[in-house]
Amino acid sequence: MDRKKISSEVWVGVVVLIGILSLFYMSMRIGKFGTLHRQGYEIKVTLDNANGLDPRSPIQIAGVEVGKVSAIKLDGYKALILLRVKDGVKIPVDSKAAVKTQGVLGDKYIEIIPGVGQTYLAGGDRINDIITVPDFGEIFTQVNVAAKNFGDTMSEFKGIIGEQEKISIKKSIDNIQVVSGDFKNLVSANKNNITRIVTNMEAISKDIEAGKGTIGKLVKDDTLYNDAKDVVASLKNISGDIEQGKGTLGKLAKDETLYDEAKDAIGNIKELTDGMKKGEGTLGKLAKDDSLYKETEKAMKKIQKGAEGLQEMTPITILGTIFGTFF
């Protein structure tokens, strides 16, 4: 009967108060940007693909959250993203925007890379410079293909240009230098072959030497690989022909320009093979292409970092999966 002294209203009041305080506390802790809707200013970005972005996806500058995506709309056949940026964060007009991924499987967010201009975006303005960053999935497959191609090419080269062939080639060159014969026959018989070989060789060696070597190029360079293979095969043919001594080599020597061209080409190949020999079998050195090598290395590092980053990232996708198993 003692507890009757405190009426039910008081007890209910206590519990309700605890409840309201709990709710208030939790809302305060998580609701940092809950009130952002009306604050800040809005800028626009048009993307080809807004896949993975959500309203409320974060906007970052240098890894610091400066706002949230407020809306995603279809504009023509592109995605118009409205970004609500906190007041006080000034974004130069020449800034760039990129859609990035947090972690390997993680959330998409928009990174703004500030420009250096002194004029700043105002509400309603647009960032026109969009950097497309391939996502990790693409990079993975690209690198994979590239690496495979490199490997194949290398073993092909190695297989084809063995000691035997090198000697043959050398011998052929010696022969060319020494022997002068009926070049016209050679030309008429092998004209197409030679022209193709020469252009191919030139193109290939130039490409390799110029070393445009980005990962994308590399993938494209299936042709390079095939061409190189062609060249070598043709070369083998020729040297075989020469060795068989069809007596046409004299003619070859007579034609100065053709001779020079051939010499150039062969020199290029020699350089290439030398480079290959010196190289310790790394992909980059195969092609004498440092930048390509570095790019690949960078990409690899990125992937590695990404994999390490898994530990720290907050990919909702993981959460989603786990929720799926929980409930």
Partner: protein, 257 residues
């Protein structure tokens, strides 16, 4: 024989539909009467005390331990990913969206729902409900409306307390016991948890409050057959309420989240 089997086959869905209709009818009646004078505030407060205050302890205990065990289990799983920082987020999301409302409602069903059914059942078999009726007082208004309104109001309150305590329990286990990085733990909660997670959880709890009280009161109100009938009504009330809560939880979740 054959007709008997046939009849019982037809009888089952018929009983089910009848029950569903009766409960819906009770719900509508309660809803209507809730907005009609006189508002029996003192009755409502008495029930709020019974449902809310007296259920506090059990809710505190279940909430805390649920959060604790959630942290324990999920950290075991996340360690395999090396993602232990997510434990806090998992605990917070699970508590607010799911376990807070559902476990609280189930506990209140067991504690308060059963006694609603038993109390009303006893009042029915001892003619107290008839006594109210002959006094020209609507028993639904006097006995059921306060219980339903009180459940509706108190369940969200209990749930938010359970939510918070669950997270605290998870924090104790995760950070203090398992040594998860405190900053990661809390930051991930703050980053992952959204206000709608909490509010929708509370809406769920309020709906569960209505469900459990309407069903429990319905079962008690229409008790037949003495003490045995009261016992049966109580069991049925708890079972039916729990099952309905879990089913409607699925429906609500798929609508809201």
């Amino acid at each position: 024989m054959f007709r008997k089997i046939l009849r019982s086959i037809f009888q089952l869905p018929l009983t089910f539909l009848q029950e569903l209709g009766n409960i819906s009818r009770m719900f509508l009646q309660v809803t209507y009467l809730s907005f009609r004078r006189p508002f029996k505030l003192d009755y409502i407060f008495k029930q709020m005390e019974f449902i809310g205050v007296r259920s506090m302890l059990v809710v505190v205990i279940t909430g805390t331990f649920t959060g604790m065990v959630l942290a324990l289990q999920s950290s075991y799983g996340f360690r395999k990913f090396g993602a232990e920082g997510l434990v806090g987020a998992i605990v917070a999301l699970s508590m607010t969206r799911e376990l807070g409302p559902v476990l609280t409602s189930l506990m209140v069903t067991g504690r308060a729902g059963s006694s609603m059914a038993a109390e009303l059942g006893t009042m029915r078999v001892t003619e107290q409900i008839d006594a109210l009726t002959v006094m020209a007082l609507n028993p639904v208004k006097y006995l059921i409306v306060p219980r339903v309104v009180a459940s509706f109001l108190m369940l969200p309150v209990l749930t938010i307390i359970s939510d918070l305590l669950g997270i605290v329990g998870g924090y104790i286990i995760g950070v203090k016991l398992l040594g998860i990085n405190e900053g990661a733990f809390i930051n991930k909660i703050e980053k992952t948890l959204d206000l709608p997670d909490i509010y929708n959880g509370l809406v769920k709890a309020a709906v569960f409050g209505i469900i459990l009280s309407v069903i429990s009161c319905y079962k008690g109100y229409y008790t037949r057959g003495g003490a045995e009938g009261v016992g049966r009504a109580t069991t049925e009330a708890v079972v039916l309420s729990s099952v309905t809560i879990l089913i409607s939880d699925y429906v609500l979740t798929s609508i809201m989240f």
